[in-house]
Symmetry: C2
Subunit: 240 residues, 2 copies
């Protein structure tokens, strides 16, 4: 955190230096990113992202959308950029990035978003993507379940203060659960470590990864977690 | 640039890796930043910025404002964050960061902007800051002249496709001119290297620094510039 001298902010473990939460998903057919926070350009450069066919949004808070315009590089390569978001999130994207959505773009290199409202499951290539509406404080944000050939591969719940039973049942037994675990101490809009572990106990995934981690949770805390539970870090790659 | 294999993007000179343009100004009385692009948090961490008393905006394009919310760290420390911008830029800030300006912030850690419309010279501590309206394609953006004790110390023109004579005269003889020099090739909204040199020839500063540099202009190009002209790079510190 800016201007902080805590143990995690001064940590020698490079995994303790975190940019904003996001995932990049690569399949045989196509690739997409979930959220474009302010760090999107830095993340795309660091991971050497060469292809991006769509962007999927969880919600419109600044740490998840403010890098949207840097999609222009991929939009230009494709001619447009399919954007998947809930109606509320799309409204915010249209307000914030008015210049991109208003159709008045004059330069060929400008971002050309192609809006797709998420109202239920949708497909990208051979992947079925199921929105998982969960509370994030007073807001409702979309987590997403990714299934291929009828197999529930991964659920991504980056911002959640709780997970309703219907959602926990819907993703029950998923191979990988990636879940908000901000810090040990409770927070009004995010799950704590204990809260995330309690969700994992209900979902019973093969493996759990914590994400959206604050500087109050060191990478080293992983040693104290159950053996199927990990603290995710920037650049972590999972193959399924 | 994302997905680019050009000589500059693959350069071994770390100065060829550039984040979005911004300057941090430290004076005996107070400190401020000009613009908060998406990289603001990364830049503040990298330069170990501990104090920030105000933010001054040139214009509202995404590469200059999308890190605005990360000012909350400094806003919290002060109780609010004075924001200096033209009326047009302030309107865009209010639209994009509606949650910060609408006065409904519920959490103490939220950004509390304190808007100040820039309509002419203003002071921050002992520095007089003079807005310099310049064309940036079809838009007009503010450069800024910083003077102390009647001495014109630095002019910052980060985004300009030209510099009107009145402005060139206004900053004539400034110690340091920091000026847009996107690349060798002309661009509709930015000065080229030749364009920036032509402005410098009219302004006659002691020293000129190029900024807002694209991947078409390597750091090594500095060797071919006049001896009083430099290619700025991320983290460059100037003492006046």
């Amino acid at each position: 955190m800016i201007g902080c001298d805590c143990e995690v902010c001064r940590s020698a473990d490079p995994r303790d230096q975190r940019l904003r939460s996001s995932i990049y998903v690569e399949t045989p057919e196509c690739s997409w990113v979930v959220d474009t926070g302010p760090d999107f350009r830095t993340q795309a450069l660091r991971q050497n992202i060469r292809r991006l066919d769509a962007v999927v949004f969880t919600h419109s808070h600044t740490d998840h959308i403010m890098g949207f315009d840097d999609l222009r590089r991929f939009s230009y390569a494709r001619g447009s950029m399919p954007v998947y978001a809930s109606a509320a999130t799309m409204r915010d994207l249209e307000r914030v990035f008015e210049f991109a959505f208003n159709g008045l773009n004059r330069f060929p290199g400008y971002l050309q978003p192609e809006p797709h409202l998420v109202t239920g499951p949708f497909t990208l290539g051979g992947t079925v993507i199921v929105p998982l509406p969960v509370p994030h404080g007073n807001a409702t944000v979309n987590g997403y379940l990714f299934t291929r050939d009828g197999v529930a591969l991964a659920a991504y719940l980056s911002d959640a203060s709780g997970v309703p039973d219907a959602i926990a049942q819907q993703i029950s037994g998923v191979k990988i659960l990636i879940i908000d675990a901000l810090r040990p101490k409770p927070h009004p809009t995010h799950l704590s470590v204990a809260g995330a572990l309690a969700v994992a106990a209900r979902v019973r995934p093969d493996t759990t990864y914590f994400t959206h981690i604050a500087h109050e949770l060191p990478q080293a805390a992983e040693a104290g977690l159950p053996s199927d539970t990990y603290v995710a870090y920037d650049g972590l790659t999972l193959s399924l």
